[in-house]
Each structure stands twice: as C-alpha cells, then as structure tokens.
Amino acid sequence: MVSIIHSRGDRSLRDLVNLDEGLIAREIYVNEAIYQQELEQIFARAWLFIGHESQIPNPGDFVISRMGEEEIIVVRDRKNQIHAFLNTCRHRGMKVCRYDEGNTLVFTCPFHGWSYDTDGRLVGVPYYKAAYHDELDKSQWGLHEVAQLSNYYGSLWATWDKKAPSFEDYLGVYAPTVRWCFESSGGEDNGVELFTPATKWHIPTNWKFPGFSFDGDSAHGAMTHRSVNVAAIGPQGELDGGGRGGIQAPFPKEPFEMMLPELGHGGHNHMYELPGTPEYANTWQTEPPEVDEYYKAQREKKQAKYKGTYLHAGNGGTALVWPNVNIQPHRILIWHPHGVGVTESWRQYPVDRDAPQVVKDAQRRYMMRYGGPTGLTESDDMENWNYAFPASLGTIAQRLPYNFQMGLGHAHTDERMEGMTFNYRIAEENQRARLRRWIEFMEAPSWDEIFPVNPKKNTERK
C-alpha cells in the first residue's frame, strides 16, 4: 500500500481539482507520482471491465485482459466457472500465459515449470518430492485471483478489492443502462457477442484524456469530427445528410448529459417523452438489403418488449462506467493506463449473437471505418489527446488550469429519472462528475469513505 498524497508542497491534492470553479490543474494529467497513486487508489479498487463471456464459451477457453497496467487471464475452468487471475507465476513472476487467447488444460510457467489448473490451483511443481521434499503447501501458491468477479448480462467485470460493493451497487441507478448495452438489438438480455480479437494500440497521452472526455465531451464533435461527417462514413452513405451514425426515425425525446456524480458514471443520453421505442428507419443502404430486414425485425421485437415502458438514460446513448470504460451500442472502449503519458487503448465490438453472417459482416465493416486506430472518427480524437498531453507538460503550461466550466451551476434533477443528475446535452457535467469521483478515490483510504454514497448530494449541488 503506498502512502496517500494529501498534499504536494503547499497545495493539497484537492486544490488541484477545483470543481466549484471548474478549474483543474494540468498536473493531475501529467504528474508521475499522481499517476502511481491512481494505480493504487483507483485501478486496484474500482470495478473494471475485463471482457465478455462470449470470448470464452468452452471449458479451458481463456483470453488475456487487463486491470490497470497489469495483465490478467480470464478463463473458463473445466467446471464451467469463469475466473480472472493475475498473469504471473507465484514462483518467480514470469507470465504463465503468453497467448492472447486460446484453450488449455493448464497454464505452465516457461521459466521453472510451475503449472496451474484452469481454476488457478497450483497442480504441478517440478521436483516436488526430490527438491521440495513434499513440504511446499501447493494450496497456498495458486494463481492470484481477483477479489470479486461479476458476470453482468454476459459482460465480465472484476475488482481487486474484496471490500468493494457488489457490481450492481457500484453501478447504482445506472445499472439498467449498462444492462441495456448488452441486450441484442431485439431487446434480448445477454444477446451479444464480441468480434475477436480485440483491437489494441498505444496512444501517447494520459488515460484520463480519452477516459474522461469520451461520453463526456459533446462539444468537441462539431469541430473535431466535422471532416468525418462530411466524408459520410455512416451505414447509409450520403443519404439523409450522410452523418456518421445511422438514420434515426423521429421520436419525441430530449437529449441530456446524464450522470451520477457520486459514482462517476455518465453519458450522452436521451429522455424519451413517449413510452416505447422509435420505429425503425432503413439505414444500411451501403449493405445488402438483408441487413435492414434483420434490424427492422429486431426493432419490432424490441418495440413489443418495451411497449408502454418509458425508457431513459441508455437508449440511443452511451455510457461511461467509472473509471475507464465507455460502452456504446456497437463498441466498447477501454482506456488502460500504461504509464503517465501512455494509454493502451482497446476496442471490442459487440454484435447480435444470433444475427446472420451478412449482418455481422456489415456491422464489422461499419465499425472498421468508424472506430479503432484506423477508423476515421477516432483518428480525429487521438490527434487531440496526443497533442494535448505534451502541450500540458511544460513548466509554464502547468501554471495554467484546464477550463471545465461549461454548464457549471446548471445541473438539475428530473423526477422521471430519480438519482440522475442532468445538464444540457452539450456541457462538461459528465467530466466534472468523473473528476469528482477521481478526487474521492484518490483521497479515500478505503471503500468505507466512498461507498455508500449519499444520493441527496445530487440535489444539493449547484
């Protein structure tokens, strides 16, 4: 356990995050000591997204994932239970798995040969009788397992902290939104699978630039993504104005930033003003007609499921689950810290599990031109984050705070969505919510100080 930084020189850590005035010191994005404390205070305690059960359908299947800077093995054991283990041998630390995914009977360390069952038990120790004299207690030297793992409608989440609240409690009133993200387009729970493999690449910026601005920074779109909108990369091509998203049928709704400042989650979401869901609008004109036929049929299923039900928050929107994963209808974005100035960016793309191949192929093509390291939209984003980081490193630059004042003082609640805080659809409320949770995690010695939260603080906030 590292000691907690409560002050730096004559300034407290909290002074670097002035949420009342919307002024945030650049130091929290570029300082190595603060970054190291983030690994301990945030990534060693928070619930983190580690994958999806569709990646490991069979006993012995495994996939490599990450929690913070550290690699983990997500594996389905021979009894069909899912585990997550730190990818390091308990003997001398070597990685026990060097493949991104596969199927195995055991994980054997290539250094000295300690071997672990898929349930993490140490089952093979070379020279156990001759050299260890039968004295090594193998039961104490299994792979190090996460403290808690949650399979939430097919999505897998884990925390290293046994005192963390349950994952559903961690989500709070945002739980239905996250559940919604893992529905099929027809409204079937746990109805998606992920394209494999994940796309992974490094970007030269601090993890908070993408992590806190994705689903939190609506203002950048009109400037940053203007060129990609002109390029008409959406599935409808140049029809209907050629936006980068799909065509949406008219439906009375109001877009907001919605967030849970006490928990740090939030997104760009809609409040529908009628029960149910919109009609389907043909939107896949660049693909074979079977694609639209499929999605139209799925929409009818969803309309039947939610007939008479007011949907809020996640529908048509996006979600950030604190601290570093954004879940959108067709992509999951994970921002792994990889050094104070390096982020390992992962993309995983959900698609309806039972969709015909022609639909999956269409979805894959759309996402390839949209997201990831070669996608047109995220190339725009990366350019900003990758230059903002070095431009914030300098002595003079660090004297100047970032401005997070957009919409400050205009947050409000809405009785239709109790527990949520709202702001205008273009605001920096989501980012302030994340920074609020950030300082709480950074200062708190344990979960006792940061959970449960007091939801009334929402209404008290200016």
């Binding site: 195995t104 009977l105 055991v106 054997t108 290539p110 040969g113 071997s115 089952v123 093979g124 070379p126 020279y127």
Partner: protein, 81 residues
C-alpha cells in the same frame, strides 16, 4: 509438429539424445518415468513441461497403479512400445 488426430512418427517423439519430445506425445502413448514407473498419457497440454498420466506399473509404490497425476518433463525418461 503433429496434431492429436495424426499418429506421429517415432522420430517425432524422441530425439537422437533420447530426450522425449513432450509436446508431441499423443494420448494413449506409454512412457517410462524416472522412478521406473510406466504410465499412459491421458492428456497433453502441449506446453513442453507436463503431461497428464495414468500409472500402469509402479514398482516402488504399487498403490499408484490406476491413479492419475501429472508428470514433469525431466521425469519422463523414455517411451514404452
């Protein structure tokens, strides 16, 4: 390299120095262990370090016959049959 479905050549299982090539041992292959035991391969993780075995003969400890265990590469000293 052999797969589980192919019957390997003898040269694929042991080299000129009489070192057993663990990764290539198919299920059902009988092996001799350092303590004189004879065992049958029941599963092979193909990691080059370990095989899963069932004891067929165990002169030093006959109670092991019929039991299953893992055998480390250094303890697999030869092939039987």
């Amino acid at each position: 390299m052999t797969s589980n479905n192919e019957k390997p050549n003898a040269d694929d299982l042991i080299n000129v120095n009489n070192t057993v090539i663990l990764t290539n041992l198919p299920e059902g292959q009988k092996v001799k262990l350092r303590d004189g035991s004879v065992a049958e391969v029941t599963a092979n993780p193909r990691d080059g370090g370990w095989i899963f075995i069932k004891f067929i003969e165990s002169p030093d400890d006959p109670s092991l016959v019929g039991t299953e265990d893992m055998a480390f590469a250094a303890d697999v000293v030869g092939l039987v049959d």
